[in-house]
């Protein structure tokens, strides 16, 4: 059933699970719980469509490095950010779950296998195939060719809205904004919601899940903790901490023989003609003590290529271009080199509460985000490895921008493209084996509570370079099975 929170709306006395937030995580979880036979109340703060009133609740401040305004980096209505995502998918790699020498606070309490069992179900939801296997590219075994797969992209509200509306065991409630809780003896008894006209309801359930996104999950938990003396996972001050993004920059240009396809690429054409993704091997990451990273080669058409000829490409000795063209039978590809990579989890990068409050009296978020020396070192090592690969193979040449090669801790968005991040908000309510190290346990239960859970990318203790949606969906499906065991 679908409802809008009004004075006339009357919820059930009790639900099995109350899920707060109807984006990728919340919708996936609610759908899974219904498949498992549980009754669900799904609260969405926004409406069916974008509204300024709802979106304004996402405003906040950013302190530290250059970053997007917080109210443009995400969408606050039914479907959440899946209403405008690009559909790039790839599950996290096995190496991403392990502690890294480069980052003392990295590593998950679960392993890739724990989520891999949910990939087929996630793939059905996202409408993606399994990514092709990686290929080691060089004898030194430092570089891999990796693949992403692409969702149409699935708009979750369109896909699941009609299913929910026709389901008596599901109560989707729009304009339903979390403002408070009733909590005693490690149990959340009720969550309190308000609409935009001040009408309030309290929802009772066996279990409650906050699934509001990579900034809001921290913000709402911090807000609730002010009332409950940090009992909700914040006994060690961990809520909001270890927040992460994927630094994303255009880092150079390239000239490569032929198109970007490899000889065994027939199955993936035509996409692989225009895009190539390289990543370091785990052995290279360990040896260099760096984080994970992917370098993307974007082939461009003649118009943009012309611009490059008059800026960067002309500084390449003409004989090099001639030699490459001769080898490739006159066919050369040129384009931009872009990078998106992992930053190490740092205590200082965090979501905090500001002094200003929103229309519901909830403090607005303040995002503290800095990129460390490790972030720069990771980019430089991997970018140089990728660039030297083409030179050693004599199949192309790569130019890296001055700021990439500089030893100074500087980053630049002058190359355009998606910059300085991927709109990927991760961490803040990290999963861990103890309350000393995180906010939730390996089953997403908030430490200090028995029935409050978190879903979404805020759970990530470290991020790899892969776009987070596939992992978000896998985690939500896993949580769905766990809650089913608890609630039945």
């Amino acid at each position: 059933m679908r409802a809008v929170l009004t004075n006339e709306f009357s919820p059930r006395e009790h639900y099995d699970v109350c899920v707060v937030g109807a984006g990728a995580a919340g919708i996936t979880l609610a759908h899974k719980l219904r498949k498992n036979g549980l009754s669900v109340f799904l609260a969405e703060g926004g409406s069916d469509e974008f509204s300024d009133e709802s979106q304004a609740l996402y405003q906040g401040k950013v302190l530290g490095g250059e970053y997007f305004d917080l109210d443009v980096a995400r969408l606050r209505y039914f479907g959440g950010t899946t209403n405008h995502w690009g559909g790039m998918c790839r599950p996290l790699e096995a190496h991403d779950f392990l502690p890294k020498a480069a980052a003392p606070n990295s590593g998950w309490p679960i392993r890739r296998e724990d989520l891999a069992v949910y990939f087929p179900e996630a793939a059905t939801i996202l409408e993606i195939p399994e990514p092709p296997p990686d290929t080691i590219l060089n004898d030194e075994r430092t570089l891999r060719r990796v693949h992403f797969v692409f969702s149409p992209p699935v708009r979750f509200a369109e896909k699941f809205g009609p299913v929910f509306a026709a389901d008596d065991g599901m109560q989707l409630c729009l304009n339903c904004n979390l403002v408070g809780a009733e909590f005693e003896g490690e149990l959340v008894r009720k969550l309190i919601f308000k609409n935009y006209h001040g009408h309030q309801i309290a929802i009772a359930a066996k279990c409650f899940v906050i699934a509001c996104g990579g900034i809001e999950n921290s913000r709402l938990l911090l807000h609730l903790n002010r009332t409950f003396s940090d009992a909700l996972g914040n006994q060690r001050g961990n809520v909001g901490r270890y927040w992460m993004e994927h630094p994303t920059h255009t880092i150079g240009d390239f000239l490569i023989c032929g198109n970007l396809a490899f000889p065994d690429d027939e199955a993936y054409l035509p996409l692989s003609r225009d895009r190539l993704y390289l990543a370091p091997t785990p052995a290279f990451l360990d040896r260099e003590k760096i984080m994970n990273c992917r370098i993307r080669f974007d082939r461009v058409g003649h118009g943009a290529a012309g611009q490059m000829l008059t800026s960067g490409l002309c500084s390449l000795p003409a004989s090099v271009e001639q030699n490459l063209a001769a080898m490739a039978g006159g066919s050369l590809s040129m384009g931009w080199v872009r990078a998106s990579w992992e930053q190490e989890p740092l205590w200082s990068n965090r979501v905090a509460l500001g002094d200003e409050v929103d229309a519901f009296g909830v403090p607005r978020p303040v995002l503290h985000w800095q990129r460390s020396e490790q972030v720069k070192r990771t980019l430089q090592k991997v970018a140089l490895e990728a660039a030297t690969y083409f030179a050693r193979q004599n199949t192309g040449r790569v130019r890296l921008h001055d700021w990439v090669l500089s030893q100074e801790p500087i980053f630049s968005c002058e190359g355009g493209g998606h910059c300085p991040g991927g709109y990927h908000h991760m961490g803040g309510t990290r999963m861990a084996d103890s309350a000393e190290a995180g906010v939730t346990d390996r089953n997403c239960r908030v430490f200090g509570t028995r029935n409050l859970f978190v879903a979404g990318s805020s759970l990530f203790p470290s991020t790899g370079y892969c776009n987070p949606t596939t992992t978000i969906v896998q985690l939500a499906l896993r949580l769905g099975d766990h809650l089913t065991k608890l609630a039945i």
Partner: protein, 58 residues
Amino acid sequence: MGAMRHLASICSSRRTFLALVLATLAMPFPRWASKWLDDDLVIVNGWILRRSDLDSGH
């Protein structure tokens, strides 16, 4: 960036390696403008080149 634009204006009219060398000598390039990574690979104006790339330009 000024240096790069100047270089672009030079080499768009005479795309020869000689022009590149002259420009390199004349312009205040960053210190990594020419840096050998090993016996074979060198960074010139951000391009990762091979030793033979430089030889073949003469």
